[in-house]
């Protein structure tokens, strides 16, 4: 196991193992660690869970070795050195005693050193005095032993963040139709609603995990613009997500398990019903959520005023779901009043486009310019409005002189000359002109 393809395969198996527990961790290079505390009873016990797991792995054609134990160390040792599908809960010590020392996940040099003094099995070192052992072989031998025996805690790092709220449902018959998936989503959301209400939380990000019978796992996530609890609203989000996925959804032979998890939760004030203003606001949130679910959040945006005098930095465009309340425009209006800010264009180009311009006097407005291969004769110009570059930064760029010009056919543009003649070095060429925006 070393190629990237193997890593991808292991990842998909890890995804698939999410059906047993949300706590799945990689054990490089070829193993997975599952924390099934509190999950085994869903399958009727640990042995039944292992039977289910091995049955599915066998059907998929994998060679495997499974061990269940009270500690990560004991389970790893049993899985790698004991018989396949071993069960060592509560008898970790007895299981470990007969296994070789390399089962403790020690470095090969350490194992070889221990072997030189005749210590070959874990049983040989369990009851040895600790001080001399540590003095000779460093502390990690005993630490690994303690971890395997459960005297010391060993943390497990799950590969996916663990959701604070989870509801799941297994089906006797696989489901494949979109309506069924949505109905089950609503039912799971209803279950989550009680848990969310009890803690006073609402969901900001929800993930629907669908387990296909052939082992493929679909994870579909949707964000919300305000803490959400209502099952119908949650269902609506997934209607749009499924519509956006279209053919990529591909239920194959059907899903035999579904899990709805609230990945990000936020405190949510108790529902208010029937007050005009808030009802409108929630309608709007619902619309923004639906659009974001179908088109992806980065396509549904709001404009936020930024504290900068450089035109392209004066405004940030952020996903509407991420923005709450005031967007900073009150501050901008005050700034405009105070500084008598010259007009700004209705549309701003993503980046200023270079133009060929001819000016009458070096620092004056252009007489004519060529933009996108069309020649525009300037008949009126307002300006310049000088905007300094970010002089405090190395990459701030030169000062710009902005002009608002009107051409013969009545089109209005926002142009600037990058760099001033007085700042020009002797050998440099003329300053360059750019078109930055258009006025109505």
């Amino acid at each position: 196991m070393s190629s990237p393809a193997d890593a991808i395969l292991l990842e998909s198996v890890a995804d698939w193992c999410l059906r047993y527990t949300p706590l799945v961790a990689y054990d490089a290079p070829d193993g997975l660690l599952l924390d099934i505390s509190g999950c085994a009873h869903l399958y009727g016990g640990e042995r039944e869970l292992v039977a289910d797991l091995s049955g599915r792995l066998e059907n998929a054609g994998f060679g495997y070795s499974i061990a269940v134990a009270g500690t990560i160390g004991a389970a790893w040792a049993a899985a790698h050195y004991d018989k396949p599908a071993s069960h060592a809960c509560g008898e970790e010590r007895a299981t470990l005693e007969s296994l070789p020392l390399s089962a403790l996940r020690l470095q090969t040099a350490t194992v070889a050193g221990l072997a030189r003094v005749g210590l070959k099995h874990i049983g040989d070192i369990i009851d040895l005095p600790r001080a001399p052992l540590t003095a000779r072989f460093r502390s990690d031998v005993l630490r690994q032993l303690d971890r395997a025996l459960g005297h010391e805690h060993e943390p497990l790092t799950p590969r996916l963040p663990v959701a604070p709220y989870v509801a799941e449902q297994r089906f006797a018959e696989p489901i494949a139709r979109e309506e069924d998936v949505l109905a089950i989503t609503r039912r799971l959301a209803r279950r989550l609603q009680f848990a969310l209400e009890r803690r006073g939380d609402g969901a900001r990000r929800i993930e629907l995990t669908l387990f296909r019978t052939d082992g493929v796992v679909r994870r579909i996530a949707a964000g919300t613009s305000r803490p959400l609890r209502d099952p119908d609203d949650i269902r609506e989000l997934f209607v749009e997500r499924l519509a956006a996925l279209a053919d990529a959804f591909d239920p194959g032979f059907g899903f035999d398990m579904a899990r709805l998890s609230v990945v990000v939760a936020e405190p949510c004030p108790p529902e208010q019903i029937g007050i005009g203003g808030s009802e409108d606001a929630s309608e709007l949130c619902r619309l923004v959520d639906r659009l974001s679910a179908r088109l992806r959040p980065r396509r549904v945006r709001r404009l936020i005023a930024q504290d900068s005098h450089i035109p392209e930095l004066a405004e940030a465009v952020l996903p509407a779901q991420a923005v709450n309340g005031d967007a900073g425009w009150a501050g901008f209006r005050q700034y405009r009043e105070e500084t008598k800010l010259p007009p700004r264009p209705l549309r701003l180009l993503a980046r200023p486009e270079p133009i060929e311009a001819v000016a009458e006097v070096p620092d004056g407005p252009p007489l004519r310019f060529r933009w996108r291969r069309a020649l525009h004769e300037v008949i009126a110009a307002e300006g310049p409005e000088r905007i300094e570059g970010a002089w405090w930064s190395e990459h701030g760029g030169p000062a710009r002189d902005y002009f608002r010009v009107e051409d013969k056919s009545g089109l209005r543009f926002w142009l600037f000359r990058s760099g001033l003649y007085r700042d020009l070095a002797q050998d440099a060429g003329a300053p360059t002109w750019f078109l930055h925006g258009t006025f109505a």
Binding site: D280, A281, E283, L284, R286, L287, V288, R290, L291, R294, L295, R299, V300, R301, R302, L303, A305, A314, E315, V317, A320, D326, A327, W329, F332, R333, R336, L341, P343, R344, P345, L346, R347, L348, L349, A350, A374, I379, A380, E382, R404, V405, E406, K408, S409, G410, L411, R412, G437, T438, F439, A440
Partner: protein, 248 residues
């Protein structure tokens, strides 16, 4: 007799969802309002086309000028990705100059025409939205799509504005169709009062409830609405982007 029939038709045409809504949005320009029968109809689709792509900012400014008069408007401006790169993105500071608070604006960009129409329809159905501007580049739009948008607008009483970069040749079921280009704010003015302002030639080419008309309009910063431009030169017929004539 004529008047009676007209009244009868009006009641028949009234869409069911519109009962409680103020149906008309007066622009405050008597000449235009008279032709529109009192004002721009809310809960209906209006097409605004630029005579060419370069006139799009003017058409967008005109659309914004119409949307401003919607009371408490939450505006959705829905564009295509390509349109954003070609004509630039709506700029908050410039929108603010049109008397429209940018915090009320939500911009949506879509990858396909299909998504654009879907997003418009969704936004139109929402009661919290005052106006929706859908901006599409050259290309036809089916009558079914226009009808769907009109119905969605009628249901909620939202003002629907369809912005197009080229004048469409298809017949449309929209309530009005405008061709709006830019007009020079300099020509025909005294040297002393030369000042660049937002000025449009607005041709109302189709109107389901009245005659057509042509005006030169101007955005007034003082009144924060569209006004009839003074010192306006006579309005010429709209210039269409005609495709080269087929030679037999």
């Amino acid at each position: 007799m004529d008047e009676q029939l007209r009244q009868c038709l009006l009641t028949l045409q009234k869409t069911p969802g519109m009962m409680g809504h103020p149906g008309l949005l007066p622009l405050g320009i008597p000449a235009v309002d008279k032709v529109l029968g009192g004002g721009l109809m809310r809960g209906a689709l209006h097409e605004i086309a630029a005579p060419g792509e370069i006139h799009l900012p003017a058409a967008a400014g005109f659309a914004l000028g119409l949307a401003v008069s919607v009371p408490s408007p939450r505006l959705f401006w829905i564009t295509e990705d390509m349109g954003l790169t070609e004509s630039g993105a709506p700029h908050g500071a410039g929108i603010d100059a049109f008397g429209f608070a940018p915090e009320r604006l939500v911009t949506v960009s879509t990858a396909h025409r299909r998504d654009l129409l879907w997003a418009m329809e969704e936004a139109l159905r929402c009661r919290a939205v005052g106006a929706v501007i859908g901006e599409m580049r050259a290309g036809e739009i089916g009558t079914v799509a226009v009808r769907r948008l009109s119905l969605a607008a009628a249901e909620s009483g939202t003002l629907a504005l369809l912005l197009r970069t080229t004048p469409p040749r298809d017949a449309s079921t929209a309530a009005t169709r405008w061709i709006v280009g830019t007009a020079s704010s300099i020509l025909g003015r005294e040297q002393s009062e030369r000042e660049i302002r937002s000025r449009f030639t607005a041709h109302l080419v189709r109107n389901r409830h009245g005659p057509a008309g042509s005006w030169i309009l101007e955005w007034s910063d003082i009144d924060e609405r569209l006004i009839l431009a003074t010192h306006a030169q006579p309005v010429a017929a709209p210039t269409f982007n005609r495709s080269p004539r087929q030679v037999a």
